[in-house]
Amino acid sequence: MSSDADAAGDAAAGPNRETKAERIRELLATEGDAVAENTRGFNAGRYESTGRLDDYEALKERAREIKEDAIERLPDLIDEVRETVEANGGTVYLADDAADANRYIREVAAEREAGRAIKSKSMTSEEIEVNAALEGDGVEVVETDLGEWVLQLADEEPSHIVAPAIHKSREGISELFAERFDLDDPPETAEALTMFARERLGDLIEDADLGMTGANFIAADSGTMLLVTSEGNARKTVTATDTHVAVAGVEKLVPTVEEFAPFVELIGRSGTGQDVTSYISTLTPPVASPVPDFEADDEPLADGSGDDREFHLVLIDNGRLAMRDDETLKETLYCIRCSACSNACGNFQSVGGHAFGGETYSGGIATGWEAGIEGLDTAAEFNDLCTGCSRCVPACPVGIDIPWINTAVRDRINRGEADPSQLDWAFEELVPDEEPGGLDLSTRLVGNYATLAEWGHRTAPVANRLANFGPARALAERVVGIDSRRELPEFARVSLVEWFDDRGGSAVDPDEADREAVVYPDTATNYVDVDRGKATVRALEALGVHVRVPDLPGSGRPPLSQGMVATAESAAEDVYAGLAPHLDAGRDVVVIEPSDLATFRREYERFLPADSHERLADASYDAMEYVFGLLEAGGDPAALRAPAEGTGPVASGARLAYHPHCQARTVEVGEYATATFERLGYDVRVSDTECCGMAGSFGYKSDYYELSMDVGEPLREQFGDTERTVVAPGTSCTEQLDALLESTPMHPIEVIAPRE
C-alpha cells in the first residue's frame, strides 16, 4: 500500500465517519419505527388534504408571492409593526441574537416577578434556548404543548419541527410518566395519557405568571399575530397570564391581515394533512380577555383585569437579516415551518430529526436555517442526508427549492473544508473537475462519475474484474467509502454511441420520418446499461422517428449531487453546446435517465441563460413521455411490444410493478409510463414510495448503506412478493430494487420496445 493512498484515505474517512454511521444505525433501531409511521401518515394525509383543494397550485403561488414581497420589504415591515404594536399598547424588541433576546425576556420576567413561565410550542424559542436562560434566573419554565412537555420531562430534543415527540412511542411515554411521577399504575392509552397531562398541566397553568408563545405569522398593518394550534394550550397560555411574550423570527412578518388567508389554508394540509387545525388564533395583543384569578377565585371573572395586560413582541434577527442578503439562503426565509419537507423525505422518514437536523431545525429546509443561524459547520453535520431526490419540492407550500439550498450549502462546505495538503494528483485524470484541490476524495470520485465511467468502458475487462475484486473493494470502502455490500456497475465494452455508429445510424430515413430526435446518451446508458439505450432507439424507430445518438458529455447530475456546483455548471454549458445544433435543426431530445431530464429542466435554469434553458427544457422529453406523445399524435401502438409477447427476459405476462423515479415525479413525467403501459394493455401497479433510498450515489456510501436500505423498505413491502415484472427507469433505483427484491428491474422502454 502506498503512502499516498493512506493520506487520501485518512482525508476521505475523516474522524467522524464511523461515529456518524453508528449514530444513524442506533436511531434506525430506536426511533426509526415511530418516526416512520408518523411521518408517512402525515405525508399521505398531505396528498389527501391538498388533493381536496380546487386551487392548490394557485394558493401556493399566492403564498410564495406574499413571502417574496414580505422579505423584500422586511425592514419597512419591522418599522411598521413596531408602530402598530406600540399603538395597541404593546412593546416590540428587535433582538440581534439569542443572547440579546434572552436578556430582554429575563428582564421582563424579573420586572413582573415571574415565578413560573408557561410556554406554547415555538421552534424560535428553542433556537434561542430561552428556557435555560430563564431557569438560570430561577424562573420555572413549563412547556404546555403535550409533545414538548413529554420532551421536557424526558430531557430530549424535538425530532420534528411540528410534532416534536414523534420519535416517542405511547409505551415510552407511559414509562416516562411512571418514572417521573412515581406511578405504580401509569396511564397507558392515548386517552388516559392525554387526560393525565391535561390535569397536571392545567394546575401548572393556573399559577403561572408569564405566558410565552411563538407566532406563525404577524401582520405588520395591525400587529396581529396568528398562531396555528390544535390543543388549546397556546390559547390558555395567553389567557391565563397577564404578561404575554411572543418570540418570533423577523421573517414571520407579512404586510396585512388579509394575507394570512392562503397560509391558513395551506399550513395544516401541507404539514400533518389536516385541512385546518383546531385553533387558528389571530391575536392583536394585549388581548381583551380578563385574566382569570385562580387564587382569588370567588371574584367575578369579568373584573376588568384585561386592561392590565402587558404584551412584548420579541423579534429575532439572529442571522436572518444577513440571510436576506444571501442569494442562496434568502429563500429559506420564505419557510413557514409546516414540516412538509420532512414528511416527504425518505431519509427523514427513516431516521427523523435527531439525525437529519441541526441545533434546532430538522429536515430538508434545516440546512438553510442552520447554515444561516448557526453556521456552515452545523449544517455540514447533516447536510449529506439530503440526497436531492426533490420530493420536497412539490410538497413545499411556498415553492422553496430545498434541494438547491442543500446543494449550494454543500458546495460552500466543500470549499470551506478543502484541505490543500491532500495529495490528489494521482487522480487528476479521473477527476477533471472545476473544484478546489483537496476536496474530499469520495466526493470527487462520485462527482466525476462521467469520466470514471468512460475510463471503465475503455478498459472494461480489466476495470470490471478489478471493481468487484475483493481487495479492490476493501480499498474502495476504506479510501472512498463505497460500501462493499453494493454491486458496482459493470461497464460495457461497446458504448451506446459506438453501437449506434456501428449499425450505420438510424434505421429510419430522415426523409420518411415524422420527427427527428436525439437520444441523449447519458453516462449510465452509454457506458453501463446500453440495452435500454438500444431499446429506446428501437421504440422510437418503430414509431417512425429518425434517431441520432451523438457523443455528448454527462449532464452534471453526479457532481451536482456532491455540491460541486462549478463542475455541474460547466457540464451544463458543454451539454448545451453539444445539443444546440440539434435544437437549431428542430430535433427533439429524448432522455432515458430521469435524473438527467430533471437536471435539464430544473437545475439548468440556474446554469444556462434563460433562453437557452427554456429551449432545452421545452425540447427535451422523458423517453416514455415521448412515446406517449407519439401515440397521442397518431402513432401505431401495434408497432410496440404488446403484453401478449411477454415482458422480456426476466418474466412474461402483462402485469407490471412500476417504481417511478423520484425526480421524474417532481418534474411530472412519472405518469407517462403508466399511461403508455395501460394504453398498450398492461396491468400496472405503481409504487407510492417517494424515493427508493439509493438516490444516485447516496446508497453506495458505507455510512449510509443501512439507512438507504431502510428507506427502500416500503418498496420491498409493496413489491417484495409480487409476481409482476418490476419496472424502474432510474439507474440507481434499479440497483436498489435489485438489492431489495433480488430481481433486476427493466426500464419502462425495454418493456414496450419491439424485440431486437
Binding site: 403535550l146 398593518d221 396555528v228 390559547r235 391558513v264 385541512d275 381583551a288 384569578d293
Partner: protein, 203 residues
C-alpha cells in the same frame, strides 16, 4: 347566506364531530338548554359575538350563569358564547375575545356551545380574513377560528380535549324570526370531504 353554504358548513361540522342544532332566534334558549351540560357558564349574546344578537329574540337559558366567578368557570362543564362569523368551507367558528370573558368561557370547559347566526356564515377563508382585517386594524380585535374540539396526537393516538373543550355544539340561528319556510337540511350533504386525523401544527 346561500343554502349551499349552510349545507357545506353542516357537513364540515359533522366531519369534525361537532353536533349542530338549528332554529329561529326565538328557539335559541331552548336549543342551548338541550345542548348544555351542567353546570354551565356563559356570556350574554350580543355582548359575546355580533351586535346584531343584542336585542334579538335570541337569549341564554336562565340556568347558564352569565357573570361567573373564576371558581364557577373552573367548575363549569359547559361554556356558552356566541360566534361572530362562520366559515362554511371549513366548519370553523370565529370566537372573539372580550372583556366579558368569551375566550376563557369557551376554553376552560369540557363542552363549548356556540351560537352562530346563519347570516354570519361566509363561504371561505379569504372572506373571513377580509372581515377580520379592518377589525384587527381599527379595533385590535382578538379572534380564534375554532374548528372542532381541542385535539392532540402527541400521546400515540388522536384524542379530543387536550387542553380545550372535548366537545363542541353549534346552535345555528336561521335568518329572520320564525321563518318556517326555510328550514335547513337535516344533514349536511354538501361536497365537503372527510376530515383527517392528526396532530396539531403548533407554531
Amino acid at each position: 347566506m346561500a343554502t349551499a353554504d349552510t349545507s357545506t358548513f353542516r357537513g364540515r361540522l359533522d366531519d369534525f364531530g361537532v353536533t349542530v342544532s338549528e332554529g329561529p332566534p326565538a328557539a335559541c334558549a331552548s336549543l342551548i338548554d338541550d345542548a348544555a351540560g351542567d353546570p354551565a357558564v356563559g356570556v350574554p349574546l350580543g355582548e359575546s359575538g355580533p351586535d346584531a344578537l343584542e336585542g334579538s329574540a335570541a337569549s341564554l337559558p336562565e340556568r347558564v350563569a352569565t357573570d361567573p366567578t373564576t371558581a364557577d368557570l373552573r367548575a363549569a362543564h359547559t361554556g356558552v358564547t356566541a360566534a361572530s362569523l362562520g366559515i362554511a368551507s371549513y366548519g370553523s367558528v370565529a370566537v372573539e375575545a372580550d372583556a366579558r370573558g368569551t375566550e376563557p368561557v369557551s376554553l376552560f370547559v369540557d363542552r363549548h356551545v356556540v351560537v352562530l347566526r346563519e347570516a354570519d356564515l361566509v363561504p371561505d377563508v379569504p372572506d373571513a380574513f377580509a372581515w377580520l382585517g379592518p377589525r384587527a386594524r381599527d379595533e385590535s380585535t382578538d379572534v380564534v377560528f375554532a374548528t372542532g374540539p381541542s385535539a392532540t396526537a402527541d400521546m400515540g393516538g388522536l384524542v379530543h380535549g387536550a387542553h380545550g373543550p372535548k366537545e363542541v355544539h353549534v346552535v345555528l340561528l336561521r335568518d329572520g324570526d320564525g321563518d318556517s319556510d326555510a328550514p335547513g337540511p337535516a344533514d349536511g350533504d354538501g361536497d365537503a370531504p372527510g376530515s383527517t386525523d392528526g396532530t396539531g401544527v403548533d407554531g
